[in-house]
């Protein structure tokens, strides 16, 4: 036996050696790439504030942009009139780097490979701080006065909130604002509402009774559809107490005096979960609320299979669904209602959604950018009225010509006559709005809307101005509370996150209301065991700092 082994081993061994000698040549290239980012850092010296402003159109400028989202993709730059106009007139081209559905891994590959793109468009979280601490980001402070749009429109407070611990600004906000915004709320199917006798829905009981009515009359309709990731459950949380925004749930922490405390023990949260559990047990809520995909939600809304719909962005599918339903039947469609709450809560203290002055997300410029100033200049152009008009309504001369004193474009006839093409363009442009300026666009949109004949006014703008913007909660002080992922608090936060997600499922499917409380008690105990208290302490500290920055 032994003898045979020796011989049969010989050949593979020879082959391995042969293979090794072949590979030795490329061995050098295979060394870990982790050292390269440092090299890169030293290549690009700290940006100096030269006096001359960057001039667009002189030379071509190509900017690589990586969207740090699983879903990120974008239409080709230059494939529509607006970006084509920018490409032709300013010689700027944005080249996308795609995440391939796995943003986390992609970013890490980019870091490890030392090939960071010029701009990363990402969530405002611990990740930004991780990049900054490792010296991969370019601060904007030297450019702020030279290119004034951001400073003017975002305001000093917002910029201060965005500043990193070293006091410098590394993040270019998107959809920042000084005015309330946001689309959290409830929307009802018009036809069913009318057929059910238009009952008033002002309290939680009214809401519950309405769902019962729907279920009795339309067995195939989903009485309450909470949207993607069951965001509508978070909306409902706002109905149990005054000034009780869903922010608490997304923070997994509830403010109590000057401390943030456990979500699982919050009486309001517990009550809301019991209520949701009751809806589920009685078949009043979508059964696949926690697992459905965005497409499935969309399909239900578009086909009028939901009686009440709610999410963090109700108007998104609301306007699409309304358009789809009215096309089939002019009497069908959706409308929004003023948010309801437990009896006794004042109407103006119900906050089914939240907003913050920092907006949605940010763009950061990396040290790999050859000319960070040019990149900043372009972002500043995009966020200013001049650039943003192009990226919102298309280039001048297409659907608008000239602007009024407030910078609102004057519409051309084409805007109305070529509605389909115009809408296609505007839908496409949403993908390029990385430096959205809510403070400019919202008033402009409203004013724009008034230039339209009433039947042409958009569904979205109507309900935003009538309801959602009036009911959203300003949650700016609760921004940036998360610890970085690698820290001890960050590791604990992740463990709590898993516990929260599991407990939410368990609470929804629990057999009785008492079981809901048991699930939440257990979740708190489990979370406590993995360090929930240290996470809460960290968040409290950051929250108090934020309040100070905001002068509260």
């Amino acid at each position: 036996m032994k003898n045979r082994w020796g011989k049969s081993l010989l050949l593979p061994l020879i082959a391995v050696f042969a293979a090794m000698s072949l590979l030795a040549g490329c061995g050098g290239g295979g060394t870990p790439a982790a050292t390269t980012p440092e090299k890169k850092g030293s290549e690009t010296t700290a940006p100096e504030a030269s006096t001359a402003k960057y001039e667009f159109g002189k030379e071509p400028l190509e900017i690589e942009l990586y969207g740090h989202y699983d879903w990120f993709s974008m239409p080709a730059w230059g494939g529509d009139p607006a970006t084509k106009w920018i490409q032709d007139n300013m010689k700027v081209t944005i080249k996308p780097i795609l995440s391939g559905g796995k943003a986390n891994q992609k970013l890490n590959t980019l870091i490890a490979g030392g090939t960071l793109p010029d701009v990363i468009w990402m969530q405002r979280d611990g990740e930004v701080e991780r990049l900054r601490q490792n010296g991969l980001l370019v601060p904007f402070d030297d450019y702020l006065d030279k290119y004034p749009n951001l400073k003017e429109w975002a305001g000093e407070d917002t910029l201060n909130m965005l500043r990193s611990p070293d006091g410098k600004l590394y993040q270019f906000p998107n959809w920042y604002t000084k005015e309330p915004n946001g689309n959290g709320g409830y929307m009802l199917n018009i036809k069913m509402y009318k057929e059910l006798g238009e009952p008033k829905i002002e309290t939680l009981d009214d809401f519950y009774n309405y769902l019962k009515l729907v279920k009795a009359k339309y067995p195939n309709v989903i009485p309450f559809e909470p949207g993607l990731e069951a965001q509508g459950f978070d909306t409902l949380y706002s109905a149990f107490k005054e000034s009780n925004p869903p922010t608490h749930i997304s923070m997994r922490a509830v403010p109590n005096g000057d401390k943030l405390t456990s979500l699982f023990l919050d009486p309001t949260y517990r009550e809301s979960m019991q209520f949701i559990n009751k809806l589920y047990r009685e078949g009043l809520v979508a059964k696949d609320a926690l697992t459905q995909t965005e497409d499935q939600v969309k399909e239900k809304v578009m086909n009028g299979r939901v009686a009440v719909y709610s999410s963090a962005d109700t108007t998104k599918f609301g306007s699409m669904g309304h358009a789809a339903l009215t096309k089939k039947d002019p009497n069908d469609g959706y409308f929004m209602i003023w948010p309801f709450a437990k009896a006794g809560i004042p109407k103006d203290k119900i906050n089914p959604g939240h907003y913050n002055s920092l907006g949605w997300n940010v763009s950061v410029i990396t040290t790999s950018a050859e000319n960070p100033e040019a990149v900043f200049a372009f972002w500043d152009y995009m966020t200013g009225p001049e650039g943003f008009r192009v990226l919102f309504w298309g280039p001048e001369g297409l659907y608008w010509e000239g602007v009024d004193a407030d910078g609102v474009p004057k519409l051309k006839d084409d805007y109305f006559t070529k509605e389909k093409e115009r809408q296609d363009l505007m839908d496409k442009l949403v993908n390029f709005q990385w430096a959205g300026n809510t403070g400019y666009i919202d008033p402009a949109k409203s004013k724009f809307e008034l230039q339209l004949p009433p039947e042409k006014r958009t569904w979205e703008t109507r309900w935003q101005s009538e309801i959602t913007w009036k009911t959203q909660y300003n949650a700016t002080e609760f921004q940036n509370l998360d610890p970085s992922k690698e820290s001890d608090e960050g590791i604990a936060r992740q463990a709590v996150e898993d516990i929260y997600l599991e407990a939410r499922s368990q609470a929804l499917y629990a057999k009785s209301e008492e079981d809901v409380l048991k699930v939440l008690d257990k979740a708190h105990a489990d979370a406590d065991a993995v360090g929930y208290s240290t996470v809460l302490e960290y968040k409290t500290k950051m929250w108090l700092e934020n309040k100070q920055k905001l002068g509260k």
Binding site: L11, A19, G283, K287, I491, E502, S505
Partner: protein, 326 residues
């Protein structure tokens, strides 16, 4: 490793004449003589070397606080810190239990299923029917898990899922069931899907082994009056036993790999984590997605060490029957 290699090398003794001839030649001469065949092996060897051996130094990061920014050489060494963290973590027990249970179920059900299919196919007389069944049953193997899980999710969906519709029409249930959100059904769904996807492909090996059995044995048995059933148990099964045992050893070595894509894709609702979270999904979620590379490496290394121990044990037991891997 092809199935025929296995069955012939283990099943029949090498020709003594060949062996004498071979030992007269030096290894190098034999290598040159077979150069065309050796060259064909080369890409596979390179592949294994580049993708399995070179990255192996990476397991050392399990003993570091690896930072993506500092790189391998500049990261701090921390000994067994990450192992201790994993063993102390409240998830440890659950993850290990799920891994073992799911693996064991796969061993118990998914492992014998293709043998059974092969035995059944072997008894089918109609050649065309046999190859039709074979083709249809091995096709799912070539579908990726993303697609298969898509089928499963839509079939089991609570909103217009076909299974729920059938059950409702048959009056077996009153309201559609949310199958993928019910922890008690998760293992059955997972194993069933696995069997469906892999049964045909896995049975090819056994069919090949069965084809290699000397037909004289059957003729002799038939003469002695053995029924079809007896022939299966007394001839077919014992003859393919060496192959079965080899695959059994490999399967036991794989027991810490409960599966990954299938579990990840079917456990969309977090409520099933209590039964679905296995070592690999845990490594992905807690380790890699949160940049805890060292922790992920430590958990992965723990898994590999246990796998090697199990493999060695299984092999030692199999050696007693004379069918061991080494």
């Amino acid at each position: 490793m092809s199935p025929t290699d296995l069955s012939t090398s283990k099943g029949s003794a090498p020709d003594p004449g060949l062996q004498i001839k071979a030992s007269k030649q030096s290894g190098w001469q034999r290598f040159i003589k077979q150069i065309d065949i050796q060259l064909m092996v080369l890409p596979a060897l390179c592949f294994v070397f580049v993708f399995s051996y070179i990255p192996m130094y990476g397991v050392l990061t399990a003993f570091q606080d690896y930072s993506l920014f500092k790189g391998f050489f500049a990261s701090d060494w921390v000994g067994f810190k990450h192992f201790a963290a994993f063993f102390k973590s409240p998830d440890f027990e659950r993850v290990l239990r799920n891994t073992l249970v799911i693996s064991f179920l796969k061993l118990l059900i998914s492992f014998p299923a293709p043998i059974l299919l092969a035995l059944m196919l072997n008894e089918v007389g109609n050649k065309y029917f046999k190859s039709l069944v074979q083709t249809l049953s091995y096709l799912p193997h070539f579908l990726s898990w993303v697609i298969v899980s898509g089928f499963v999710i839509s079939m089991l969906s609570v909103d217009n899922g076909s299974i729920n519709i059938i059950l409702e029409k048959l009056n077996l249930i009153e309201e559609p069931l949310n199958f993928l959100s019910m922890p008690e059904y998760f293992w059955s769904i997972l194993i069933t899907t696995n069997v469906w996807k892999e049964i045909g492909f896995a049975s090819i090996v056994y069919l090949a082994a069965i084809a290699g059995i000397d037909p004289h044995l059957y003729e002799a048995a038939a003469m002695d009056g053995a029924s079809r059933f007896k022939q299966i148990f007394l001839i077919t099964l014992p003859c393919i036993m060496p192959v079965v045992i080899i695959f059994m050893i490999l399967a036991i070595g794989n027991i810490m790999n409960a599966g990954f894509e299938d579990i990840l894709l079917l456990s969309k609702d977090k409520i099933v984590w209590s039964v679905s979270d296995v070592i690999d999904t845990y490594v992905l979620r807690v380790g890699i997605e949160n940049h805890r590379y060292s922790y992920a490496a430590a958990v992965g290394l723990f898994k590999s060490v246990v796998s090697i121990i199990l493999l060695t044990l299984a092999n030692a037991i199999a050696r007693r029957s004379g069918n061991s891997l080494w």
